[in-house]
C-alpha cells in the first residue's frame, strides 16, 4: 500500500484490494478479442470494419439513450456496451446490411441489458440476445454468407452492406454455405487447417479458431474467465462427437471439426463465460458447460439448424439462476443442508 500520505489513513475493510474492476476486466476481454477482430478485418476487408462499427454504435447509442442523465458517463465508461457490440458484430455474416447491425446492437443493449436494470442484472447475454432478435427478424439476411475477400483488396465492400435502412438486401450470386452448413446438408467436410486459420465462410469472428484460442489463453492467464466453462463445453463437444463417430464416422462430424467449426470457440470462450449470465459456483460452472456442450451438439446434429451455439448458451443462461441455487456450497460448521 502506498505510504505517501503523511496523515493517518483511515480505511474500513477490505484493506487488501484485488485490483480487478469491471472496466479493467472489460478492457482485457476487448484486448483478447483484438487478434480475432483484426483477422476478421483482414479476411473481410472494409465490410468487417463497418459492421463492427455499426454494432458498437448501436450498443453505445442504446446505453446513452436509456441511461440516467447523471449516471450516463459512468455506465458508458466501463466499456461493457462496446464489448457487447463487438461480440455481436463478430457473430454476424459479413454481407449483412449495416442498419441491421446497428439495430442488433441497439436491441441487444436495450432489451438485453438496460431493461433488466443495467450491468450485472441481465439474465441473458446481451450480444446473443441481439443476435437472436436479428435471426428471428431477418432470417434470410442473417443466413446469407459471402466468402472472404479474394480480390479487390481491403477497400472492397459487399453490396449487401450498403442497403438503405428498412430496405432489402439485394441477394448476390456470391453467397455460399458455411462449413457447418456444408457438413449438415451436403456431407462435405472442410479441411481442419482451413478452419484453424480462417479460410472459410462464416460470420466475422468465427473464421479463425487459433486466434480465438489465443485470446482465451490470455484471458485465462489474466484470471478474467472461469476456465471451467470453456473447458467443459469443449470437452463435452469432443466426447459427444467421438461417441457419435463410433456409430457412423462418415455421417457425423469428427471431434476436431466440431470444435473448430462455427461459432463454438467464440461462444465457449467469450460468451458463455460472461460472469453475469453464468453460474458463480465451480460445480455450477461444470454443469453449465456440460449442458451447453450437449445442447450445441444436439442442435447441430439432430436439430433443423446447422449451428446451435447461440441457442445453447441462451437456454443455459435461462437455467443459470436454478443451477446457482442448487449448487450452493455447504456453510462451514453447519449440517448437510445449507438452506
Amino acid at each position: 500500500m502506498k505510504q505517501r500520505d503523511p496523515d493517518l489513513l483511515l480505511f474500513h475493510a477490505p484493506l487488501l484490494r484485488q485490483g480487478m474492476t469491471t472496466p479493467k476486466a472489460m478492457r482485457d476481454v476487448l484486448l483478447a478479442l483484438a487478434p480475432a477482430t483484426l483477422a476478421s478485418m483482414w479476411f473481410f476487408g472494409l465490410s468487417a470494419v463497418l459492421i463492427l462499427a455499426s454494432c458498437i454504435g448501436g450498443a453505445v447509442a442504446a446505453e446513452w439513450l436509456f441511461a440516467d442523465r447523471q449516471a450516463r458517463g459512468e455506465s458508458l465508461r466501463d466499456a461493457s456496451c462496446v464489448l457487447t457490440g463487438l461480440l455481436l458484430g463478430l457473430t454476424l455474416p459479413p454481407g449483412l446490411p449495416l442498419w441491421m447491425a446497428f439495430l442488433g446492437g441497439f436491441i441487444g443493449i436495450a432489451l438485453g441489458k438496460v431493461i433488466w436494470g443495467g450491468l450485472g442484472q441481465n439474465l441473458f447475454n446481451p450480444a446473443l440476445l441481439g443476435r437472436a432478435f436479428l435471426l428471428a427478424t431477418f432470417p434470410i439476411a442473417m443466413t446469407t454468407w459471402v466468402p472472404a475477400v479474394t480480390d479487390g483488396g481491403f477497400l472492397q465492400v459487399y453490396p449487401g452492406n450498403l442497403a438503405l435502412p428498412f430496405m432489402q438486401v439485394q441477394i448476390d450470386a456470391m453467397s455460399s454455405a458455411t462449413p457447418l452448413g456444408l457438413m449438415k446438408f451436403e456431407q462435405e467436410v472442410t479441411p481442419l487447417t482451413n478452419l484453424m486459420f480462417g479460410k472459410t465462410t462464416g460470420s466475422l469472428g468465427e473464421t479463425s479458431g487459433l486466434l480465438l484460442l489465443l485470446g482465451g489463453v490470455f484471458l485465462w492467464l489474466r484470471r478474467d474467465l472461469d476456465w471451467r466453462i470453456p473447458v467443459s463445453i469443449l470437452v463435452t463437444v469432443v466426447v459427444f462427437s467421438a461417441i457419435l463417430g463410433l456409430f457412423d464416422a462418415d455421417r457425423f462430424p469428427s471431434p476436431l471439426f466440431s470444435v473448430f467449426s462455427g461459432g463454438l470457440l467464440l461462444g465457449a470462450i467469450y460468451m458463455a463465460t460472461d460472469p453475469v449470465t453464468s453460474p458463480v459456483t465451480p460445480k455450477g460452472a461444470w454443469i453449465f458447460g456440460i449442458g451447453t456442450g450437449v445442447l450445441v451438439m444436439l442442435i447441430r446434429v439432430f436439430g433443423g439448424l446447422p449451428e446451435g451455439v447461440m441457442y445453447a448458451i441462451l437456454l443455459m443462461n435461462a437455467a443459470t439462476p436454478l443451477i446457482d441455487r442448487y449448487t450452493q456450497p455447504r456453510v462451514f460448521g453447519r449440517g448437510g443442508d445449507s438452506q
Partner: protein
C-alpha cells in the same frame, strides 16, 4: 354534474384505467389477433359491441338477477352478444372472420367483459354502465389498433394492407409472429408507465410549489 360523471366514466376507460395499458386485461386477443391492423380493429369492434350490449342488459336487469347465480347470468348475456357478433362478422367480412378464427367465440372468456359486468354494470344505473362500457371498449379498441398498426407496419411494411415503403421493404418477420406481440406490448406498456411516472412527478412538483408559495 350528471353529464360530468358520464364523461368521467367514459374517459377513465379510454386513458387512466385503460383495460390493456393500465389494467393489463384481455391479453389473449391482444396478443393473438394483432398481427395486422385490420384484424385488430375487427376484434376491437366485436368486443365493443359485446361489451356495450351486455353492460346495457346486465345493468337493466341488475335488480332482478339473484346474487347467487349472477356470474352464470352474465355469461349467458355475454354469450348471446358474442353469438350475434360471430355471425355478423361471418356474414359481412368472411375473410377477417376466418383469420380471427377461434378468438371470436373466445370473446366470451375475455376477462375485461366479465370484469366490467361484475365490477360496474351490475351496480350502477344503465346510463353510467353504458358510458363505462363505451369508454372501456374504446380504450380496448385503441390499444388493439396501436399494437396491430405497429406490428403490421414493421412486419409487413403496410397499414390496412396499403404498402407504405415500396417493394424493397425488408419485413421484420418476428413482428408478425407471436414473440412480436409480446415485444410490442412490452414496449408500449413501458412508454405508458413512463408517461404516467413523469406526469405524477410533474404533479408532485406543482403541489410542492403551491405549498411553498402559500
Amino acid at each position: 354534474m350528471k353529464n360530468n360523471q358520464s364523461y368521467e366514466e367514459f374517459i377513465k376507460g379510454v386513458w387512466r384505467d385503460n383495460p390493456v395499458f393500465a389494467q393489463v386485461l384481455g391479453m389473449c386477443p391482444m396478443l393473438a389477433v394483432t398481427n395486422s391492423a385490420v384484424n385488430a380493429v375487427a376484434m376491437g369492434m366485436a368486443t365493443f359491441f359485446v361489451l356495450v350490449g351486455s353492460s346495457f342488459l346486465v345493468s337493466s336487469f341488475r335488480n332482478w338477477i339473484p346474487k347467487q347465480v349472477r356470474i352464470s347470468c352474465f355469461i349467458i348475456i355475454i354469450a348471446t352478444f358474442v353469438t350475434i357478433a360471430d355471425y355478423t362478422l361471418l356474414a359481412l367480412v368472411p375473410k377477417v372472420h376466418k383469420e380471427l378464427g377461434a378468438f371470436i367465440p373466445l370473446i366470451v372468456a375475455n376477462c375485461l367483459i366479465l370484469g366490467r359486468q361484475e365490477a360496474f354494470a351490475s351496480r350502477y344505473p344503465t346510463r353510467l354502465a353504458v358510458m363505462d362500457a363505451v369508454g372501456m371498449a374504446t380504450g380496448f379498441l385503441l390499444a388493439l389498433f396501436s399494437l396491430g398498426a405497429v406490428r403490421e407496419i414493421l412486419g409487413d411494411g403496410a397499414l390496412f394492407g396499403v404498402k407504405l415503403f415500396g417493394a424493397n421493404f425488408e419485413p421484420w418477420v418476428i413482428m408478425i409472429l407471436p414473440p412480436g406481440g409480446f415485444l410490442t406490448l412490452g414496449v408500449i406498456l413501458l412508454f405508458f408507465n413512463w408517461f404516467k411516472f413523469k406526469k405524477d412527478e410533474f404533479l408532485e412538483d406543482v403541489a410542492e410549489a403551491e405549498r411553498s408559495g402559500h
